[in-house]
Amino acid sequence: MTQEITFWVLAIIAVCGALVAVVRRNLIHGVFALMIFFAALAGLFLLLLAEFIAAVQILVYIGAVGILLLFAIMLTERVTGDDGRSITARGWFWGLAAAVAVFVFLLLPAIQEADLPESTQSIQPSVKALGHKLMDPYVVTLEVLALLLTAALIGAVAVAQGAEVNKKEDSDDA
């Protein structure tokens, strides 16, 4: 009973947070609605007994990705929605139609006609088992992920700094 109530509350918060983040004119309000969405999703992960993933979701998404998005908004156009500019692209109606069509005609029938397992398995959530799995069969994936993150870090710093380095070289030549 409490599980059902929790699921419905978290589901409604998640959908509302995502909708507000996508629709809102003021970008900062949008980012905070997105963080509420991430938090609701972390709650859903806890309900599904994936504790470690819930903690990682809060740590990475709310603590890091959200702050990154806020800094990016500060460094680009800080849209607070005060002017009357349009927020939607030119073909927005077809975008809306495509999203609704994907949901109604593609995803919903696939879910309803699938042969889904009914009951839940009994799981002992354990971080130690996750650690063992990361070291034993999936160690190569872990190393490739580390390489990817290093490359992304170096690439992001290089791309964001690019213009200044070029300007400095030009002024040295002249």
């Binding site: 409490t2 900062i28 504790e51 470690f52 809060i58 740590l59 603590g63 702050i67 971080v127 130690k128």
Partner: protein, 390 residues
């Protein structure tokens, strides 16, 4: 939800809500007195018993401060975002208090009337979660969000700049904080706060090992920076950006920020006590379980006293010195510490000579690395370039 379960939840959480705010009041008094003595003056000693002239060493000062904050006018700037201006102090307090339930303070000894209630309490406690330490760090990371909200919602250039600097400082120091805790987790093999505390039975606390000592120092420095405490208090210093991100706050909202900062100080000291100082261990715990709570609070209090002492002694770091300290000094040192921990653990130490040798070598490596990194990250003082004057 049976009645016993509700009683168990209440016993597990209400003592925390009772102890830590009263500890907060005591700490504000202690801070003012201790800072005053360091600065060769006396501190508050007039406010004692109300309506009399008896000043009990100024112990009534926290109550007086609280009443003053409650009665101040609540000013919201005209162009400010009202919703966020209200939410920011609340969002600063909630993670700080939520994170207190991940500290292994076992209150099941309070259930003296029924054994099954004690079992229920043990089942409900948050520190027995499989990933308690990770949840601690995850929820402490939400503080950055409230700082940004406070800086943004005040519609004040100085608040915004102060907020941005505070966030940059907090996210930079989160990494050495987590990495120095990773060493302990690696040695114990579990993220469970109760297991980490139980692995330090007797006197083999992790702070008495070479890698534990270095990790404790790094953790403590990073904890000072996370809670914006001196010498890292650039975001809230009065002589810097006015008061930084809480310039526009007055009255009860300011009191909430203040409360949030002190409670997160308690929470991080609590985690330091669990990870390194064997939280709850001390003489006489086996016989009387309530002594574990007393020892834990004593350790937290001594760490808070060291923080206050550092505030009165060290000067403030400049913002570029702060960032260089985190990225170029603490981060490589904490990564090296993980390697040294592996080395110190797996070399067989039979007799005392081998133990002393391993200690020396580990400390030698860490000291040499610290000196080397210190030399590398010295800020160069270049001759000044003038942009406009020729």
């Amino acid at each position: 939800m049976s009645f016993e379960l509700v009683v168990a939840i209440l016993i597990a959480t209400v003592p925390l809500l009772a102890i830590f705010p009263s500890l907060f009041a005591l700490t504000t008094w202690l801070e003012r007195k201790a800072l005053a003595r360091i600065q060769n003056r006396r501190g508050p000693n007039k406010v004692g018993v109300p309506c009399t002239r008896i000043g009990l060493f100024g112990l009534g000062q926290p109550a007086a401060d609280g009443i003053k904050m409650l009665f101040k006018e609540d000013i919201v700037p005209k162009g400010a975002d009202r919703l966020f201006h209200l939410l920011a102090p609340i969002l600063a307090l909630i993670p700080a208090m939520l994170v207190l339930c991940f500290l292994p303070l076992d209150f099941s000894f309070l259930a003296v009337w029924d054994e099954s209630v004690a079992k229920d309490i043990k089942a409900v406690q948050g520190f027995a979660l499989d990933g308690a330490v990770i949840f601690f760090f995850a929820i402490t990371g939400i503080n950055t969000l409230s700082v940004f909200m406070a800086g943004w919602a005040s519609r004040n250039k100085y608040s915004l700049l102060g907020g941005m600097r505070a966030i940059a400082q907090m996210i930079s120091y989160e990494i050495p904080l987590v990495l120095s805790a990773v060493v302990v987790v690696m040695m114990v093999g579990s993220l469970n706060a109760k297991e980490i505390a139980d692995a330090q039975v007797g006197w083999n606390w992790f702070v008495f090992t070479p890698w534990g000592l270095a990790a404790f120092i790094i953790f403590f420095i990073a904890a000072l920076a996370e809670t914006n405490r001196s010498p890292f208090d650039l975001p809230e210093a009065e002589s810097e950006l006015i008061a930084g991100y809480f310039t526009e706050y007055s009255g009860f909202k300011f009191a909430l920020f203040f409360l949030g900062e002190y409670i997160s100080m308690f929470a991080i000291s609590g985690l330091a006590a669990v990870l390194f100082l064997g939280g709850g261990e001390g003489p006489g715990v086996a016989g009387y379980p309530w002594l574990a709570v007393v020892w834990f609070l004593a350790k937290i209090f001594s760490l808070i006293f060291v923080m206050i002492w550092l505030r009165g002694t060290l000067p403030r770091l400049r913002v570029d010195q702060l960032m260089a300290f985190a990225w170029k000094f603490l981060l490589p040192l904490s990564i090296l510490n993980i390697l040294v921990a592996g080395f110190a653990h797996f070399i067989p130490q039979g007799n005392v000579v081998a133990k002393v040798a391993v200690w020396m070598v580990s400390l030698g490596i860490l000291y040499a690395a610290a000196k080397g990194l210190n030399g590398l990250s010295r800020a160069e003082v270049k001759p000044r370039e003038y942009k406009y004057a020729q």
